[in-house]
């Protein structure tokens, strides 16, 4: 009895699926989905090699400091870094006084829920990076987690920063209506090809590095990408440093346990 019900139920579900499949196949043939400009021209991130890559990766603190400088002088005009606090910068190799001086340059608004007052105070090491007021076009995302929140991570940021170009003529040939809208900029690494952010790194020497590194656009893009990898995952180096001993121990324990298992079963066929 139950099997009759089961076969009927089976016929019901399979018939409904065939119906959907048939309709879908029919419309796929008669009305095939058109290729979009994004599908044709969107590019995967370029290769970017950072010191933090791989299972042995560790941060290059000098590069992170340079990246932080790029963030401060270029990105921070529009992009916040809300999850990061100034005291975290000590991990980049700054000492207490330097961190204090960096924090003191910022005005941190504090809302008093009792009085409804918003007062600003000079940034302290314990403060998080303050929110950024932005009035222009688009919505600049918070950058704290951006390398974890985008496919490609640091390589994506690097590609985006160095990927601005003129809209290819070929694109307009295929999609005459897809001209870059006013105020947007063509960037094949951006998800829909047209990004509101104007090219932020415009020329060599835009910042002056303290350590003498030549501030080419490529170098600045690399440095700030490395910095944003750190902001998204500050514990990365510790993860790797903890991970290896843990895996080593587990390997040792697994081998021992396997030998014990072989011992115990030595006289039992199974």
């Amino acid at each position: 009895m139950i099997r009759i019900f089961s076969i009927l139920a089976g016929l019901f579900f399979t018939a409904a699926l065939l119906w959907s499949f048939g309709n879908g196949a029919y419309s796929a043939i008669t009305d095939p989905a058109a290729v979009t400009a994004e599908e044709m021209f969107h590019k995967h991130p370029k290769q970017l090699a950072l010191a933090s890559d791989g299972a042995f990766g560790n941060f290059d603190h000098r590069q992170l400091q340079r990246g932080f400088q790029v963030y401060q002088e270029v990105c921070s005009a529009c992009h916040a870094l809300s999850q990061v606090s100034y005291r975290d910068l000590k991990q980049l190799g700054y000492n207490d006084d330097e961190v204090k001086a960096i924090a003191a340059k910022a005005q941190v608004p504090a809302y008093n829920a009792k009085t409804g007052e918003v007062k600003s105070h000079k940034g302290l090491a314990t403060d998080h990076f303050p929110p950024v007021v932005y009035g222009g076009q688009g919505t600049p995302p918070d950058l704290s987690l951006v390398t974890k929140a985008r496919h490609g991570g640091g390589a994506y940021v690097y590609s985006l920063l160095t990927g601005y170009q003129n809209q290819p003529a070929e694109l307009l040939k295929h999609f005459p209506d897809a001209k870059v809208p006013d105020g947007l900029h063509y960037n094949p690494y951006f998800v829909n090809l047209n990004i509101a952010m104007p090219p932020p790194l415009t020329g060599d020497g835009q910042v002056t590095y303290g350590d003498g590194t030549k501030a080419s656009v490529d170098q600045m893009a690399k440095d700030v990408s490395a910095f944003l990898v750190w902001t998204a995952e500050p514990s990365l180096a510790k993860q790797h440093q903890t991970g290896w001993p843990v895996l080593g121990f587990l390997l040792f324990a697994t081998v021992l346990a396997y030998m014990a298992y072989r011992n115990i079963w030595a006289d039992k066929k199974h």
């Binding site: 005291r87 121990f249 324990a253 014990a260 011992n263």
Partner: protein, 188 residues
């Protein structure tokens, strides 16, 4: 499971083989035990103060606006902190006391920094049961000895914040602090 002590099976042959086999079994169990203990480290230390809490373990306070005879309450490690600018009369009153007669013998000099005897910096936490004593705020009762008075159980502190009367066992605690400058003091 007493009769199962050791993992040896009856079929095992005697001699060195048994000892080597036993050794591996014991080593495997010991390794599992060590691993288990090691995992306790993160599980226990996660409850210790986190980095953001530790970062607030020191506070800088601007004392330039405190006139002699006045005191302010500041927040230090999520607890009240009393910073008091003693008047010469209060200093004299504190120094007049016979230290030997005190419950917790300390001189005012021991409780302040050299050359800054007028700055009395203490936690605002009664050493009895942790209430906040009165006396730092404008117009608050200062108690019989002109220092602080704890309303919970009636502990009285003098102008050097030493316990003089009532149930509290100790003087108000003086935290570690340094004068960064004449007007900025860093506590903790």
């Amino acid at each position: 499971m007493a009769q199962d002590a050791g993992l040896a099976t009856p079929e095992m042959d005697a001699g060195d083989g048994v000892r080597r086999r036993d050794f591996i079994n014991i080593a495997a169990v010991a390794a599992a035990g060590v691993g288990g203990l090691a995992t306790l480290v993160p599980l226990i230390s996660q409850m210790a103060p986190s980095a953001d809490v530790l970062a607030e373990s020191s506070t800088e306070v601007d004392i330039s606006a405190i006139k002699p005879g006045q005191a302010i309450k500041a927040m230090y490690r999520k607890q009240p902190l009393f910073i008091r600018n003693l008047t010469p009369a209060e200093i004299a009153a504190a120094n007049k006391v016979d230290v030997g007669s005190l419950r917790d013998p300390q001189t005012l000099d021991e409780r302040t920094k050299e050359g800054k005897t007028n700055w009395l910096i203490t936690l605002g936490v009664c050493t009895h049961l942790g209430c906040v004593p009165l006396g730092a705020g404008e117009g608050e009762v200062k108690g019989e000895f002109g220092g602080y008075f704890c309303p919970c159980h009636g502990s009285q502190y003098d102008t050097a914040a030493r316990i003089r009367k009532g149930p509290a066992p100790k003087n108000l605690e003086v935290p570690e602090y340094v004068f960064n400058s004449d007007t900025i003091v860093k506590i903790g």
